[in-house]
């Protein structure tokens, strides 16, 4: 599946993967699934929960799921996702009720990663994933046929090729539906009967096989990007069957700066560029990104937010590009002018309205800031032309 990798993903996969002893097989994988990566933690939690009441079909109690995702020092569980506790409690509870969970948010807020962690903790399997796209068909959601067997044997369990939803219903597991709003409406609505009646009918089969009833433990976690809203707006009927949760971005500027610093350093190292982007440049970059993203300066003045995505991941790639630029075309020290230059390429792309907003931001906000770097940043505004 074309799983998108997020930054938080990489960080955690690396930090935890490095600390725990995984079989050699895992090390060969580019990106192991969460249930494989955190197998010991999950096993330990499952063991502790053995005699606890759990929602039917769940591997862990809701409380342990919470510990697994947010981390719990007292149970020696590493934190994996940074977010508010009440938000996560709501997510977990949604999955225990008869509604699905819809995670929405800006790109780059680790929605997919969160859904992977939840599926791994609750079902012990995060691989039942449907990737939504304009080309997603019903076959890749429910089931399709092995045509050779279909012709020779007729429709039977043997000739049926199950897709993630079929698996999820049959074995009582969580199914992940990534980027659901990228699918055409009629494909999204395939979920309707499954979500409300918890049953999938397979009209081709005879007898008992015609209806597949969901086992306990089945539910759907969907993710959707707020930037894709309006592309394929979900039907009201389907919306009703999901509980919506907005995944917020990183709340604290210090956390975001640290993350950008770490990640851009790692990417530069991988690219073989011996340049370090100084922390002051990170501060400049992250402050600018946050302000443009929120449409509000750090001291509370309002602006128009950009329509382009300004996620943490974009900040990382801008910092990285600035570093590479400084190394190959400059003297190896990253200057504010490099940042401005690459903001145009990596972030602003070809949106003239956004360009206008950024110019306004420079004229009205950056210009008034004191400090050498901000001044240099302002002086580099010609790069925006």
């Amino acid at each position: 599946m074309g799983k998108k990798r997020t930054i938080a993903d990489d960080v955690d996969a690396e930090s935890v993967g490095a600390s725990s002893e995984q079989p050699a097989r895992l090390a060969e994988l580019q990106r192991p699934a969460a249930e494989a990566l955190y197998a010991d933690e999950l096993a330990r939690l499952a063991d502790e929960d053995r005699n606890q009441p759990k929602p039917l079909g769940w591997r862990l109690t809701p409380r342990s799921v919470l510990s697994f995702v947010l981390g719990d020092a007292s149970r020696q569980i590493a934190p994996k996702f940074v977010g508010r506790r009440s938000f996560l409690e709501r997510c977990i509870v949604s999955l225990a009720t008869n509604r699905g969970l819809m995670l929405i948010g800006e790109p780059g807020t680790a929605k997919s990663y969160l859904s992977e962690l939840l599926a791994a903790a609750i079902s012990g399997d995060s691989t039942l994933t449907i990737q939504g796209s304009a080309g997603t068909t019903e076959d890749s959601i429910k089931y399709s046929w092995n045509y050779a067997l279909l012709v020779s044997d007729g429709p039977s369990d043997r000739s049926l090729v199950p897709a993630p939803l079929y698996h999820g219903l049959k074995h009582g597991r969580l199914v992940r539906f990534e980027e659901i709003t990228r699918c055409p409406l009629e494909i999204q609505d395939t979920l309707l009967s499954v979500m409300s009646d918890r049953v999938m009918s397979i009209p081709e089969l005879e007898g008992e096989g015609r209806t597949l009833f969901a086992r306990s433990g089945f539910n759907v976690i969907a993710t959707a990007n707020t930037r894709d809203r309006g592309v394929n707006e979900m039907s009201a009927a389907l919306k009703r069957r999901f509980n919506f949760e907005t995944v917020p971005g990183i709340a604290a500027i210090s956390d975001e700066m640290a993350l950008v610093g770490r990640e851009s350093a790692r990417m530069l190292q991988r690219a073989g560029v011996p340049v370090t982007v100084p922390p002051e440049i990170h501060e400049l970059l992250v402050t600018t990104f946050r302000e443009l993203r929120a449409g509000k300066t750090e001291d509370g003045k309002g602006m128009e937010p950009l329509s382009t995505v300004l996620s943490t991941a974009e900040a990382v790639s801008t910092a990285c590009a600035a570093g590479i630029h400084a190394y190959f075309y400059g003297d190896g020290t990253v200057q504010p002018v490099h940042v401005v230059h690459h903001m145009v390429g990596t972030v602003l792309k070809d949106n003239p309205d956004d360009m206008k907003k950024v110019r306004h931001y420079f004229d009205h906000v950056v210009q008034k800031r004191s400090g050498v770097l901000w001044r240099q940043f302002y002086d580099a505004r010609h790069e925006l032309e």
Partner: protein
């Protein structure tokens, strides 16, 4: 001194067999209220000492009257310098202090308030809501416990530890609350001076009570103070040393005001209160949130039933449906299921307030929810949790202080309402009249019956500012007293109440900066501008977030008037208003740059005029940045996407500011020589560069030239907007322009046009015929 032995301190605190028993409360906690009643019933103390202002002791009987809660004790004073200060001690049905009073009365035990009066600590403290719990909210200990319990805030922590426990004995309650509060206190390195002084005073009062009463005494104070009182009374020393180096007023704590402050007016009385007010408190003044919810908890307790959340859910559904939100039965089932599951996950046997809020967030909201942004669903759920109760004082209570204040002030100004109608005309430039006007405006803001503003200068449109006057009608009305008492929930003095009322209006005004600026003008007219800092902050926020150019420039117009032109109200050059005007100016400039097509050209040009005027007036005064402003104007002028009137107006602005030559303007105009656009462009240009246009013969000539080149049909297309454009000028100015044109064309005399000899229809058809003739001639090359 730090007491090493925590355990012995705690054992002493929880001991209910001693002569002095300490009961810890968190103010406005139903569980504390239930526990204190039970303890008083069991213990039958000889006296109950409560943390309340000791200067209210002479009036304790007033609390026995049949009031509708919430009410508050209001303590106020004014000093020689004319500064006034007041503090509230609010009570609701479920306040532990209130229940202690009731239980003590039932047990026949006398009651004393033992806290220092407000007047003695006001100089050390900022919280004017005295039953707040800022001291419990801070500190590392609370953070640590929150983490341990897996909750997000102090309020949730308290609910988990105390409030939502279904079965709690008095001794277990005492152990938990004493232990929590003592730890909060001991984990902090120091305690504010004001707390220490209050504790010294309370200890003295307890000693006095021990002498006075034979038998056991119950001390009901904030849990934060219990351990300190034990230390003072048993060991004779303070638990901790003060935070500051020395006590600035190191005399023994007493009921009187500290030396150096001369009090001229002082009082303490009851006043009605509301749940909305209790709930809206934040910061130092914050107490327990969601009074409506805890009221519900208390009512369940009184009926001896376990807590049912269904009535709240029903109320929520009603409130949502009233707001025209779709809530189906299936949605309610989902909310109910989520709430119950959340409660279970959080280890509770019944649904609590946090579970309700989260269940609504989870099951009903189907949109992206930005942090801190309002959703009608969340508003409704908070509305239900807030509750709508408003207090009312019983008949025969001393009148609330506001009533006395209003009567006093009206009498002093000679404005007390008479049975016959008095008409009053006030000249706002006369200080005596201005004072009267301010008083009347305050009364009007509070909707006190009998005062009507019937005429005067319109400060909103600012059309006629030559004479600043107002006309009022004053007449005694039967509901005058009732409206005064009603208004007293806003505050105890007229100024405070008017400010609070305006602020309430401002909070309702979440969207339009212009209306908020009008409220500011109203505030200035009622002279509450010094008090209503929050109003200005609100306006600032609105301006920062405003999305409409017309809205912001409307607000800017009001602000500019107050800042630069106001003669009557004394706001000229006020730095705060200037700051907000500055903010509004830059916001407007930005919105101008991103402005789309607007149909309302008249308002648009008026708004641009405000912008120009602000810049001309404020460039030096406010330190506006000329380069930045001009850069924006130039970009707007060159922006093909802007409508012709805006581009014309901006060209006019640049011209007026002397930043572009008449040649540039002519070039600009030629770009708009299309008959559908010319009029609009000129309309904008004339509106913003009225003076410069008249002095410039070239422009008039160029317009003349353009018009001559138009074919008749084109001319007729252009005519309506051209007419509109020239309405910017007075007849005299038009005459002058024509004169300029004639002069430059070398035509010496200006004759009136000849009157038509035939009727207009004939003339029009002749013209049309001529037009066709010329066209035909041109077609055949016979020109």
């Amino acid at each position: 001194m730090f007491r090493d032995d925590h355990e012995s301190l705690l054992t002493r605190l929880c001991d209910t067999s001693t002569r002095v028993v300490y009961f810890p409360v968190r103010h406005h906690s139903p569980m504390c209220a239930a526990m204190v009643s039970r303890l008083i019933g069991d213990m039958r103390p000889a006296a109950v000492l409560i943390e309340g202002p000791s200067d209210f002791n002479p009036y304790l009987d007033e609390l026995r009257l049949n009031h509708d809660l919430p009410i508050a004790i209001y303590s106020y004073f004014g000093d020689e310098a004319g500064r006034r200060s007041g503090a509230y001690y609010p009570f609701c049905d479920y306040s532990p202090e209130w229940q202690a009073l009731q239980a003590a009365r039932a047990a026949g035990a006398p009651v004393r308030f033992i806290d220092l009066p407000w007047v003695s600590t006001a100089h050390l403290e900022s919280a004017v809501q005295r039953y707040a719990d800022a001291e419990l909210r801070r500190g590392r200990y609370v953070e640590l416990l929150c983490e341990r319990f897996g909750v997000e805030s102090f309020d949730d922590l308290w609910d988990t530890m105390v409030e939502s426990e279904p079965i709690l004995t008095v001794s277990e309650f005492l152990r938990r609350v004493h232990s929590f509060c003592t730890n909060v206190r001991l984990w902090e390195d120091s305690t504010p001076l004001s707390d220490l002084r209050r504790e010294d005073f309370m200890a003295d009062e307890v000693r006095r009570a021990l002498d006075e009463f034979d038998g056991r005494i119950l001390i009901v104070t904030g849990g934060f103070h219990s351990s300190a009182l034990v230390s003072l009374l048993d060991d004779g020393q303070r638990l901790q040393e003060p935070a500051g180096l020395t006590d600035p007023l190191a005399e023994a704590p007493s009921e009187s005001a500290p030396a150096g402050i001369a009090i001229v007016d002082r009082g303490i009385t009851l006043t009605p209160y509301t749940y909305a007010r209790l709930d809206s408190l934040t910061g130092y003044n914050a107490g327990m949130p969601n009074p409506g919810f805890y009221d519900h908890v208390w009512q369940s307790h009184l009926r001896g039933e376990p807590l049912q959340h269904q009535p709240l859910l029903a109320e929520l559904a009603n409130s949502l449906r009233k707001r025209k939100q779709v809530v189906s039965t299936a949605d309610l089932i989902a909310v109910e299921a989520s709430a119950c599951t959340l409660a279970a996950l959080r280890g509770r046997s019944h649904v609590w307030r946090r579970d309700l809020v989260d269940a609504v967030t989870s099951a009903l909201i189907k949109d992206e929810l930005e942090f801190g942004c309002e959703s009608p669903f969340l508003e409704a759920v908070h509305g239900v949790l807030r509750g709508t109760r408003r207090g009312k004082l019983a008949e025969g209570t001393r009148q609330p202080p506001l009533v006395a204040d209003i009567l006093n002030q009206l009498a002093r100004a000679g404005l007390d309402p008479q049975n016959t109608r008095t008409d009053l005309e006030l000249n706002l430039l006369d200080p005596a009249d201005l004072a009267k006007s301010r008083l009347l405006h305050r009364v009007k803001v509070l909707e006190i019956a009998g005062f009507t503003l019937t005429g005067g200068t319109d400060f909103f449109s600012r059309r006629e500012l030559v004479r600043l006057w107002e006309k009022w009608q004053v007449q005694s009305r039967y509901d005058f007293d009732a409206t005064c008492v009603e208004a007293s929930r806003y505050g105890a003095t007229l100024a405070e109440a008017a400010a609070a009322r305006l602020l309430e209006l401002a909070r309702l005004q979440q969207h339009e900066a212009k209306l908020a600026a009008e409220l500011l003008v109203a505030a200035v007219r009622a002279d509450v501008h010094e008090l209503s800092d929050e109003l200005l902050t609100q306006l600032e926020v609105l301006i920062r977030n405003a999305a409409s150019f017309l809205d912001v420039s409307g607000a800017l117009g009001h602000l500019l008037y107050l800042y630069c032109h106001d003669e009557a109200f004394g706001t000229t050059h006020s730095s705060r208003i200037g700051g907000i005007a500055l903010e509004a100016f830059y916001r407007a400039v930005w919105l101008l740059e991103s402005l789309g097509q607007t149909a309302d050209e008249v308002s648009l040009l008026a708004a641009l005029r405000v912008l120009l005027e602000t810049f001309e007036r404020g460039e030096a005064l406010l330190g506006l940045n000329r380069v930045e402003f001009l850069a924006v104007l130039q970009r707007v002028q060159q922006d093909q996407g802007k409508q012709p009137a805006v581009r014309g107006a901006v060209a006019g602005m640049l011209w007026t500011l002397g930043e572009c030559s008449s040649e540039t303007i002519l070039e600009q105009m030629l770009a708009f020589s299309d008959p559908t656009n010319l009029g609009d462009f000129l309309n904008g240009l004339f509106a913003l560069a009225r003076e410069v246009v008249q002095r410039n013969p070239d422009l008039v000539q160029a317009i003349d030239q353009l018009l001559l080149e138009f074919a008749t049909a084109d001319f007729q297309v252009a005519l309506p907007s051209l007419r509109l454009a020239f309405t910017s000028f007075t007849p005299r100015e038009k005459h002058y322009m024509l004169q300029t044109l004639f002069d430059s064309l070398g035509l010496q005399t200006l004759k009136p046009l000849e009157a038509l000899a035939v009727d207009t229809l004939t003339a029009a058809s002749a013209l049309a015929f001529e037009e066709r003739l010329f066209e035909a001639a041109q077609r055949y090359g016979l020109e």
